[in-house]
């Protein structure tokens, strides 16, 4: 209302009460504009104007009203309320007539008619102005979120470390209002690996900036390879003086010795990690206050040994606090149970995201960032998630060829032909070539459709590698943060034939049945599938399946 009143007063000539008519020339009087007058919503004059039938003579009012005093002080003698849909949207304020005569009944009638017609137009103008202001606010917030997203994604690891006998996976999906999740990997000269996951309170740019600061401080604190508790203690002391009030950071820091599977960890108030071991899951408990709350905190240190087949899951609360349409939470017990059920088949992230999708249903609006980091002890020491596919790989892996496939329906046939031509020279049995071709086709289709949304300008990268005993095809799309939907269960053909289920859903099932090993990993930018097959002839190569 204030804005409108101010604008309205600018167009009506009024005389200041402190000035006399005689003291000014007519031309000066014409130029006079009343000063802005604020009317508080609870001022009694508002109720009076709403009930007034038309023009109101200000001098005749007897109200205990600051606005009335202001009107009088501004020289307003006649006020005509502008009322739209029962709401006072403005006033037409007039000073004395230049003729110094009273306003006539005709004048009042004309002003009342004018007010009746002007009020809706004024209301529309107010709404337009409010909407413009809201749009500017929204745009500013969106811009801030874009900046926050850029800060976070720039600072998250672009590649996963490669460790013989270990497989790392990471997934990060920011919410629309970007939170402060982060994860990091620190590789030490002695071969040990530091794993960090954290979550900054708050959202947007402030959270992203604190995340960036915390990440730097942790890296500084950890550079000498000290124990996790010491590192968190040092990072906390570095962070405390600078962190904005009411903000803090939960953080878990673990150090893995890949040679022995020994894992040390300390926790600054972050969600407890889980370890999947022999079909059961265990919480890794260690106590400690979040970073940035108060200096000189002590962080309890714990340790464990990871055996072959064990998988460590680090995660943020965006997963466990996701809600379904009934407002039930995904919850810690559900997550712990899923980690236990999952076993060690190599794609825990994908499995959990499928479970999350099933839980939240279609149209879920993600409330918070979802971050998952997995560390699996594969125990076999062979191929990991390298991204530099043009180099000779560890363990005797050699890149035979790599090429892009434009993401368009049907282009999986090109991937099949290219892979066939490349692996034929390896002397792979015919039956295995056919299996590999079909698996490649299905994985490429998934990558083109789900990873790259069939955007032709976003190619799928296909790489063929071989070692002495195996051949591998890596298919990578740009679907980081948007994982490929998968079907982890055996399709129920009876249900499909009874039309109780969609007839589709065969892709991943076929892949799993056609290759010796399927590996899936994601990071913020890519989704990668690796199809691994023995080069050696096996008994079933000569038998009909």
């Amino acid at each position: 209302m204030t804005t409108l009143l101010q604008s309205m007063k600018r167009i009506w000539p009024v005389r200041r009460a402190s000035e006399t008519v005689e003291s000014r020339k007519p031309a000066e009087r014409l130029r006079q504009v009343a000063p802005p007058i604020d009317i508080a919503p609870d001022d009694p004059i508002v109720a009076y104007f709403l009930s007034a039938p038309g023009a109101v003579e200000v001098e005749k009012l007897h109200l205990d009203s600051p606005a009335l005093q202001a009107l009088r002080a501004a020289g307003v003698t006649l006020a005509i309320p502008l009322v739209s849909q029962g709401e006072l949207v403005g006033l037409l304020n007039l000073g004395p007539r230049l003729s110094e005569q009273d306003y006539s009944p005709d004048d009042r009638g004309l002003l009342n008619t004018l007010a009746t017609q002007a009020a809706p137009a004024v209301r529309v103008a107010q709404l337009v102005r409010e909407q413009q202001a809201e749009a500017r606010t929204r745009e500013r917030i969106e811009q801030e979120m874009r900046i926050a997203r850029i800060i976070q994604q720039t600072l998250l690891p672009q590649e996963l470390p490669q460790l013989d006998g270990w497989q790392l996976g990471a997934y990060y999906q920011p919410a629309r209002a970007v939170g402060g999740d982060f994860y990091d990997f620190l590789q030490f000269d002695d071969g040990r690996l530091g794993l960090v996951i954290g979550d900054v309170t708050d959202k947007g740019v402030p959270a992203a900036l604190v995340m960036a600061t915390t990440r730097s401080m942790l890296r500084t604190a950890a550079q000498h390879g000290d124990s996790p508790g010491e590192v968190l203690e040092r990072a906390n002391n570095l962070l405390c003086p600078d962190i904005p009030p009411k903000m803090f950071v939960t953080c878990l820091y673990a150090i893995l010795d890949p040679a022995t599977g020994h894992l040390q960890y300390a926790n600054a108030g972050h969600d407890l990690p889980y370890v999947s071991h022999n079909g059961a899951s265990t919480e890794l408990r260690a106590t400690g206050m979040p970073l940035g709350l108060m200096p000189d905190m002590h962080y309890e240190e714990k340790e464990m040994d990871m055996a072959a087949g064990d998988t460590l899951l680090l995660y943020s609360d965006g997963l466990v606090e996701a809600h379904n349409p009934d407002r039930d939470m995904f919850s810690f017990p559900r997550l712990m149970s899923l980690v236990g059920k999952y076993g060690d088949s190599g794609a825990l992230i994908e499995y959990l995201l499928n479970e999350l999708r099933s839980f939240t249903g279609i149209g879920w609006e993600q409330e918070d960032d979802v971050t998952l980091v997995t560390l699996q002890h594969t125990g076999d020491g062979h191929m990991n998630n390298r991204t530099d596919a043009n180099q000779t790989m560890d363990e005797g892996w050699r890149v035979l060829d790599t090429w892009p496939i434009p993401s368009a329906p049907g282009n999986e046939r090109d991937a099949m032909r290219h892979v066939e031509a490349t692996v034929r020279e390896l002397g792979l049995p015919e039956k295995r070539i056919e299996r590999l071709k079909t698996a490649v086709a299905e994985a490429t289709m998934n990558a083109m459709e789900h990873g790259n949304q069939y955007r032709e300008d976003v190619p799928v990268e296909v790489t063929v590698m071989s070692s002495a005993h195996q051949v591998a095809v890596r298919i990578r799309d740009s679907g980081g943060g948007q994982p490929v939907p998968t079907q982890s269960q055996t399709p129920d053909l009876e249900a499909k034939l009874a039309e109780e289920q969609t007839p589709r859903g065969w892709g991943l099932f076929l892949i799993r049945n056609l290759v010796d090993e399927l590996r899936v990993s994601s990071d913020a930018h890519h989704h990668t599938v690796e199809l691994i097959m023995s080069r050696e002839e096996e008994d079933d190569d000569n038998q009909s399946a």
């Binding site: 999986e412 299905e442 399946a545």
Partner: protein
């Protein structure tokens, strides 16, 4: 894109047996052709519809889904769906997906038509 569009030709063989000869690829693009051919095969109310895959060189997971749809239709209308001419690899795929449990798989058209069930009905 380097796909080979599916072509389908329907032959009505023997009393109450229709053969659908398929040529090309069975993928997402094949849906209309496959469904039209199946509808045409059904017009003479056959007891058996034989899908002849001898000239099919590619079936992907979407194609499998299309075949599942045909099989569901056939079961609903009490028509037996047979297949023949599959390559060794696609016989394996039919076994993996268990399609072979629900539709008889023959090496070729002659052996399919010689199936005692068809031979009996044809008499």
């Amino acid at each position: 894109m380097t796909t080979r569009a599916l072509e389908a030709y329907v032959r009505h063989k023997k009393p109450r047996v229709a053969v659908i000869d398929l040529h090309g690829e069975i993928n997402g693009f094949a849906e209309e052709t496959l469904n039209n051919a199946y509808a045409e095969a059904e017009t003479e109310q056959p007891d058996v519809i034989l899908l002849n895959f001898a000239n099919v060189d590619y079936i992907n997971s979407t194609g499998i889904a299309l075949i599942v749809t045909l099989l569901a239709k056939a079961r609903k209308s009490h028509v037996r769906l047979y297949s023949c001419g599959l390559s060794e690899h696609y016989v394996e795929i039919f076994n993996i997906t268990r399609l072979a449990d629900f539709m008889s798989v023959f090496p070729d058209e002659a052996s399919a038509l010689a199936d005692p069930a068809i031979a009996t009905e044809g008499k």
